[in-house]
Amino acid sequence: MPHTAFFRNCNPSDFFLRCRSLWAILILVLAVSAAAFAQNVGEPNHPQGSLPATHLLGFAGTRNNTKGILSIEGDALRFKKSEKADVEVKIASIHNLSLGDLSRQVGGVPLTLAKAVLPYSGGRAVSLFSHKKYDTLTIEYIDPEGGLHGAIFELQRGQAESLRNELVSKGAQVSNITKQAAEISNENK
């Protein structure tokens, strides 16, 4: 077999030199692919006012970490998981909205396993490049029985602010504390 022949033909003196360079190339390839994976690759077309989002937690009737489309339809904020399943809340029932950001490691379990098996702590080097920043939109709303709900959505970077502004223009409320925090973060930018 060619690759076993490669290892067999390695002299003890240059074995480490050659094999190390092989590992180095492998780590470089993984790092580059992870970085490429973390980039925004051509966003798919979605109808006006609807954005791809991941529901992290809290939206009634939706499982955590579900991917779907977040949209404003009429007087409601709707999260659509698939063609049939969708959940919505009335925008008027939203009494607090806030933005945040989140940096997460990408690649899921496959990349985590790949990082774990890389020698010379190569996995750590890959971790430096394999993270991606997201926006988060946190909404607090009241259900018909008066109960307080909170939900967190993860959106592509730069998308959450436009959605928040649209929700505010349609009647969603923002608490004073959140307003102040948003002003401070804008000033810092």
Partner: protein, 191 residues
């Protein structure tokens, strides 16, 4: 074949008694349960982001339901709380928050932990504190920063589950009534 008839009769008697007594005991247990209302998380003086505050609240509701310690777990502001008997109020105040980083955890392993410390209190409607604990929730290695809120909620639910709560009013009254003879006055100290 010779059978031991008295032993057989005694066994049947015991089984019948257990079968009759069991449902009554179960219904008494379920009647004795408290209903808990989870209040909105208080960020205290700590600059906790709204997403963390909401995540603690939502995870807490989920984890408390899983314990099956309470008849019902109600949200803040739920109108059902007005009619609920044996209602407890759970208040959570954030005392300490250390912001971590998932990337730093992945790169260095030993730094970048997200740490949360909260004070959790259970109140009766009269305002009497029946549980007051400080609980931690961290994420040190794997998982996103929000994972700390899940771990925290699980720890709070464990603490509440382990703690001994006083008996609710209804069951305290019924217990006193059954233990007292017919011509005795019954005094029940309500929480």
């Amino acid at each position: 074949m010779k059978t031991n008839r008295p032993a057989f009769l005694i066994m049947t008697g015991i089984l019948l008694t257990l079968a009759i007594a069991r449902p009554a005991r179960l219904s008494a247990e379920s009647a004795a349960q408290w209903t808990v209302q989870v209040s909105k998380v208080d960020s205290g003086a700590v600059g906790l982001t709204p997403s963390f505050r909401v995540a603690i609240y939502e995870n807490l509701l989920q984890e408390l339901s899983k314990t099956k310690r309470f008849k019902e777990v109600l949200r803040d502001g739920d109108q059902k709380a007005m009619n609920a008997t044996n209602l407890l109020l759970l208040r959570t105040t954030v005392k300490k928050y250390t912001e971590g980083s998932e990337t730093r955890r992945a790169v260095t392993t030993i730094t970048g932990a997200t740490k949360l410390t909260v004070q959790t209190q259970l109140f009766t409607p009269g305002g009497k504190i029946i549980l007051d604990r400080t609980v931690n929730g961290n994420v040190r290695f794997m998982g996103s920063n929000l994972r700390a809120t899940h771990n925290l909620a699980r720890n709070i639910a464990k603490t509440v589950k382990k703690s001994s709560l006083p008996e609710p009013q209804a069951s305290a009254v019924s217990k006193a009534m059954t233990s007292a003879s017919s011509n005795e006055a019954v005094f029940v100290e309500l929480p």
